[in-house]
């Protein structure tokens, strides 16, 4: 297999053998790909493959781990420092954990790039993360239905629902399991316009309800780190 000039965002790198790197990258046409980048020969070094960088790459090879033959830096996502960097790592960890290798994600890829750009520019992290989680679920085929309820009726902004994994939005008090969510939150999430704190909280609980069974028992380390930071903030302000 031979791929040329494919945009690739670096999700993670780790040392491979003595001098090479194992890269996990996200691409539009090939989805998540594992690549081996050999140590550059001669004096000139290839652009460093690091998380939060968009590269254009060629690779070649059979099997699970093809080899990078060419890499050029298109764009570093700027400003990913501090909390934005932790959020960026959360996006990367979630993608690495849930997206299988080789599933093309032409729609998720631009959302990934946009998420990192917005995090770098100081957008509210929770809004960015919720949108990414939603699109990742969509790419995996687990997107929630947010504009129609379990019976197929249009969701009412003033309605109250529970989100049942099997059935979707079930009006309260008709029953059903899952977290409570108001109609306006469901519609705001569907339109990418999460507003106040209550909407953000409901959206977070809904998406976690949908992500957790896919994640299984193993914890998300970057999520634990985000919680730790939030707890520290609360202690400080109280």
């Amino acid at each position: 297999m031979r791929v040329e000039r494919e945009p690739a965002c670096v999700l993670h790198t780790r040392p491979w053998r003595e001098t090479s790197l194992l890269l996990e990258v996200l691409t539009p046409g090939h989805g998540r790909v594992g690549l081996i980048q050999r140590a550059a020969r001669g004096g000139r070094r290839a652009p460093a493959a690091r998380p939060f960088r968009l590269l254009r790459m060629d690779w070649r090879g059979r099997g699970d781990l093809p080899t990078v033959t060419q890499a050029e830096l298109l764009e570093p996502f700027p400003g990913l420092t501090g909390l934005a960097a932790v959020c960026g790592l959360y996006v990367n960890e979630l993608t690495l954990r849930l997206l299988p290798r080789g599933l093309p994600v032409p729609e998720l890829f631009p959302v990934y790039c946009r998420s990192l750009t917005e995090l770098g520019h100081g957008a509210p992290p929770d809004v960015v993360l919720r949108r990414y989680e939603l699109h990742l679920l969509r790419a995996l085929g687990y997107a929630p239905v947010l504009e129609r309820d379990a019976r197929g009726r249009a969701v009412s902004a003033r309605g109250r629902y529970r989100y049942d994994r099997e059935r979707g939005l079930v009006p309260v008090p008709a029953g059903g399991g899952g977290p409570l969510i108001s109609g306006d939150t469901a519609l705001a999430l569907a339109n990418g316009r999460l507003g106040n704190a209550a909407q953000r909280r409901e959206a977070r609980d809904l998406l976690r309800h949908l992500l957790d069974p896919l994640l299984g028992e193993r914890p998300l380390h970057s999520r634990a780190l985000l919680h730790r930071l939030q707890a520290a903030r609360r202690n400080e302000s109280s």
Binding site: G82, A85, V86, G88, R233, N235
Partner: protein, 198 residues
């Protein structure tokens, strides 16, 4: 295997060193056995003693055979400053190559959620206690300018600010993507002088 036995065992043992493959290991072995038996005995003694007696300093986690290392025990050092670094090599570079006279804390790594390396793995619980010690005023973050180093700096900055400490980050005279221990002394010196509020 031509040599067999002890010679091959030594060649094999050298390969636990980073960057040492079979060829280099063989060269080192022949050198020690043919030209420098005394050096070989000194090396063996130093290795045995270090491997048995060196542990981590209770205050800064740096490598030492005492409970508290020489830097931490030195009353001449400025107790108001605490410089947080990733590795003992960074301590050596900063303590030996710059005018910095404060104390150190060695993480022995960096946070790397995607590799499963969390706060406890880099001693943030020990650091938390260190931050409570009287007399401390400023935490100087000198983790590497990598994504993981940046995330580590952020978490420690939050812990320090919560305790009312001033937080600074060394300036990036350090080459981007470069690791501290490879920066030359004058670059490090400038980076420390130009440290900024963080």
């Amino acid at each position: 295997m031509a040599g067999g036995g002890l010679v091959e065992a030594l060649i094999e043992a050298f390969q636990c060193l980073p960057g040492v493959g079979p060829k280099t290991a063989r060269r080192m072995t022949y050198h020690l056995l043919e030209r420098d038996r005394d050096g070989a005995r000194r090396l063996a003694r130093a290795l045995t003693q270090a491997a048995e007696r060196v542990g981590h300093c209770r205050r800064c986690r740096n490598l030492t055979e005492s409970e508290v290392c020489a830097l931490c025990a030195d009353p001449q050092r400025d107790a108001r400053l605490l410089c947080v670094v990733e590795s003992p090599a960074d301590v050596a570079a900063i303590a030996g190559g710059t005018a910095y006279r404060g104390h150190f804390f060695v993480l022995m790594g960096r946070l790397s959620p995607l590799d499963g390396i969390g706060p406890e793995d880099i001693g943030l619980d020990v650091l938390e206690r260190r931050l409570e010690e009287a007399g401390l005023e400023e935490v100087v973050l000198a983790t590497n300018p990598t994504v993981e180093g940046e995330v580590t700096a952020h978490v420690i900055a939050e812990m320090s600010r919560a305790r009312g400490l001033r937080v600074t980050r060394i300036a990036r005279g350090v080459p981007v993507g470069g690791e501290l221990e490879y920066a030359d002394a004058s670059t490090l010196e400038e980076a420390l002088e130009a440290r900024r509020e963080y």
